[in-house]
């Protein structure tokens, strides 16, 4: 597919690989890369590359580099965090997950209920924010894990994780706090202590690295049980030969970051105004002050989201319908439902990344306005 002239406004789904990362990987792939576990010089070369990347990622989380563990992606990292924490429990306990979590968290937590643990969802308000009092009332002495995502992938809500996690710790010192930082990593502050978290999860392909690489970081003193065996890589927590190329990419991505917050926020505002220029009653699902700068999800009154996505796609503009909603199957997004958005309200999600140029954003805005007017 020829991507020239494409307007890519779906960075919350995945991002274009940064040319500098692509370049570095291409060069690395053309050298003979050893197995980091091998004792010879090539092995050492690979091990160094992994070590440097680990340090770069650790810096973003403000943890020691020995506390960063690479995985195949954020889904695996979340699953490892949840199943690995549960495996350490001696008796059936209690788990809380926010109701707007990514399916990797919700579904892995659901596996725990089969193992005898009780899993409950924490409700959120109309902006997707957890009510502190409600959370407090749900905590129990046997609650061993609370999962709260930092930035919601569908609607962009920034969860005040630090404040909520402190509350959890005050009530139950031993309870672990898992924070899915996939959308905030490289953009907002994701320091372990700043968020009062115990486990943080991030992904490469949301940050201009390729897919197939993710990681989790553990606060010192926090340990997990591995969910499979097979070697002592990643300190035995995640056995399997390291994905050296992916790890190097994630290390670079962590350093390069997600770009200027103000620029992203301005871009989202331009796009949002373009939707409004065509559909006067359109409004953002989450208030701007409670939202991450790079994601804006807006309603498209009178139109079907899927049709909007198709029509924009025809004109080279990639956006998401912001939910896995298929009219006939009516798989309504659990996030929209949790926010109390009525079932017949259709939304589209517009999300930017570091590689979204100003020109791309303004072309996107023009095309969105004219396309939506044509559909109206």
């Amino acid at each position: 597919m020829d991507n020239k002239g494409l307007v890519y406004l779906d960075n919350a789904a995945t991002t274009q690989v940064d040319p500098r990362i692509a370049d570095a990987l291409s060069k690395l792939m053309q050298t003979h890369l050893g197995n980091p576990s091998s004792r010879h010089a090539l092995g050492l070369h690979a091990e160094r590359a992994v070590r440097n990347a680990r340090a770069a990622v650790a810096e973003r989380f403000a943890v020691d580099k020995s506390r960063v563990f690479f995985t195949s992606g954020a889904t695996e990292a979340s699953a490892l965090a949840i199943l690995g924490t549960a495996a350490k429990q001696r008796a059936p306990g209690h788990v809380l997950v926010s109701s707007t979590e990514h399916p990797s968290v919700l579904d892995s937590a659901a596996l725990l209920s089969k193992a005898g643990h009780e899993v409950e969802r924490i409700p959120v308000d109309q902006d997707g924010v957890i009510d502190a009092k409600r959370l407090e009332s749900m905590l129990r002495p046997e609650t061993f894990l609370v999962a709260m995502m930092h930035v919601n992938n569908e609607v962009g809500t920034v969860q005040p994780v630090g404040r909520l996690a402190l509350l959890v710790k005050r009530k139950n010192r031993r309870c672990r706090v898992l924070v899915d930082a996939v959308q905030s990593f490289g953009l907002l502050a994701t320091k372990m202590d700043g968020l009062s978290a115990d486990i943080l999860v991030a992904s490469g392909h949301k940050l201009h690295a390729p897919s197939g690489i993710g990681c989790l970081a553990l606060k010192r003193g926090v340990s997990l049980a591995p969910i499979w065996g097979g070697g002592d890589q990643e300190q035995g927590l995640r056995p399997g030969t390291e994905n050296v190329l992916g790890i190097v990419a994630l290390g670079m991505a962590a350093t390069l970051g997600r770009g200027d917050r103000q620029r992203l926020a301005d871009g989202c505002r331009v796009l949002q105004e373009a939707v409004r220029a065509a559909l006067r009653d359109s409004e953002p699902v989450v208030a701007s002050e409670r939202r991450a700068p790079h994601i804006v999800t807006v309603t498209v009154p009178g139109l079907r989201a899927e049709v909007v996505v198709n029509a924009l796609s025809e004109r080279g503009v990639c956006v998401s319908s912001g939910s896995a909603c298929h009219s006939r199957r009516s798989l309504r997004s659990h996030v929209l439902t949790a926010l109390g958005v009525a079932d017949d309200v259709e939304v589209i999600r517009l999300s930017l990344g570091r590689l979204s140029s100003d020109d791309e954003i303004s072309r996107g805005a023009e095309l969105i306005e004219s396309t939506l007017k044509g559909l109206r």
Binding site: E306, V308, V309, N310, A311, S313, R328, L375
Partner: protein
């Protein structure tokens, strides 16, 4: 022992077609050759009203699977070629029975000899007795001509001598192509690929048309139809799929008539466009997956209105099938899992909650009065994108 397997291929219906037989057999032979990668075929020849297909033994399972998809074959047997003498026949038959016994319990068996080479010194009944007796004694099996667990087949013909123990049912029907070309209207649903498959079974070679209504139907919906077409390639090779852009016409129709007529009007327009494409491709009929009463709008009245817009016969092989029967066929064809992918199909767009169940000719004529179909149909058909699906 050689390292080749000979498939004895039997064609049922083609046999009874009298003077057309030659043509049928030629087509069947071509279709068999086309469906098998020529590299694994060491020879395909005709003798004694059958085909004999020589393949490398290593390819036997793959060939067997492919052959089950070839229309026109009633059954076939993977056979072992043997020397034209009783010792060799008995030796191979013994090995084969031994192998069968390892795989499953067998109490009774029979031997069925077909001797068309009359120069062989023993008659068929004599061979049956001789080989049957030896096998019965060796393996302590009972002989039962009617109800047996195993039938050891022996063929002695000018084509060679063979022993086999397996009869695989073929797909039946007629070789694809002998009945001519037809145009299949593919929607993306469960029914239409099955309808196409059934016509392939009766010897039709398919062309297909899909009505695409972007942005209301997505690129994925189109891709789904391409995947569905691929499932139909197994029986005939590549298929030409015509993708007609239907959006503008559909909007116009929606605005013309009362909303409850929409489905009938869309389908009438589709018939017109499909007829034009079919004529250009020298197709002799249109095929649809329509069914009586499956959805509210599929009434005899509506089907009549739809058919009136076509200039070729409209064949509806699924007209009397229950949904579950269709699903079963779709699963066998391999199209079901593709069909249930959640993408819009064109006819479900702009559709009112309560479509007309008995559209009258008068209503339809009135709604279409102000539309100049000739030009619109011509444009839609001529601008159709043609995708050659299943080209290796």
């Amino acid at each position: 022992m050689t390292n080749e397997t000979v498939f004895v291929l039997r064609h049922g219906e083609t046999f009874i077609k009298g003077q057309n037989r030659r043509q049928f057999e030629d087509r069947l032979r071509d279709n068999i050759a086309k469906t098998l990668a020529s590299r694994s075929v060491k020879g395909l020849f005709r003798a004694q009203g059958r085909f004999y297909l020589r393949v490398e033994q290593a390819a036997e399972d793959w060939v067997e699977k492919r052959l089950t998809r070839v229309f026109g074959l009633s059954s076939f047997s993977p056979a072992q070629p043997v020397e034209r003498e009783i010792e060799s026949i008995l030796k191979v038959a013994t090995q084969m029975v031994e192998k069968e016994l390892e795989a499953r319990p067998i109490g009774t068996f029979r031997v069925t000899t077909k001797r068309s080479d009359k120069s062989f010194p023993m008659t068929s009944p004599e061979l049956n007795r001789e080989i049957g007796g030896a096998l019965a004694e060796r393996f302590e099996l009972g002989v039962d001509l009617q109800n047996h667990d195993l039938d050891v087949g022996i063929e002695i013909s000018e084509a060679g001598s063979f022993v086999f123990v397996k009869r695989v049912p073929g797909a039946g029907g007629l070789p694809v192509g002998v009945s001519g070309r037809v145009m299949l209207l593919l929607s993306g649903g469960i029914d239409s690929p099955v309808a196409g498959h059934l016509l392939q079974k009766r010897g039709c070679s398919l062309f297909a048309v899909y009505f695409h209504a972007p942005p209301h139907t997505s690129e994925r919906a189109k891709d789904k139809v391409i995947q569905l077409s691929e499932t139909l390639c197994a029986a005939q090779g590549p298929i030409n799929l015509h993708v007609v852009r239907f959006t503008e016409l559909q909007k116009m129709l929606r605005d013309q008539g009362p909303p409850e007529l929409a489905v009938v009007l869309y389908r009438r327009a589709m018939m017109r466009i499909a007829s034009r494409l079919a004529a250009a491709r020298r197709c002799k009929a249109l095929i649809t997956g329509e069914n009586l009463g499956q959805v509210a709008s599929q009434t005899l009245e509506n089907l009549s209105r739809i058919e009136e817009a076509a200039s070729l016969p409209v064949l509806r092989p699924l007209i009397a099938f229950d949904k579950l029967e269709i699903i079963e066929l779709a699963q066998r064809l391999g199209s079901y899992d593709i069909s249930i992918l959640p993408h819009e199909d064109t006819c479900s767009l702009f559709v009112p909650k309560h479509p007309a169940t008995k559209a009258s000719l008068e209503q339809v004529t009135r709604a279409e009065e102000r539309i100049d179909f000739d030009e619109l149909v011509e444009q839609a058909a001529d601008e159709a994108e043609v995708i050659r699906v299943g080209e290796q």
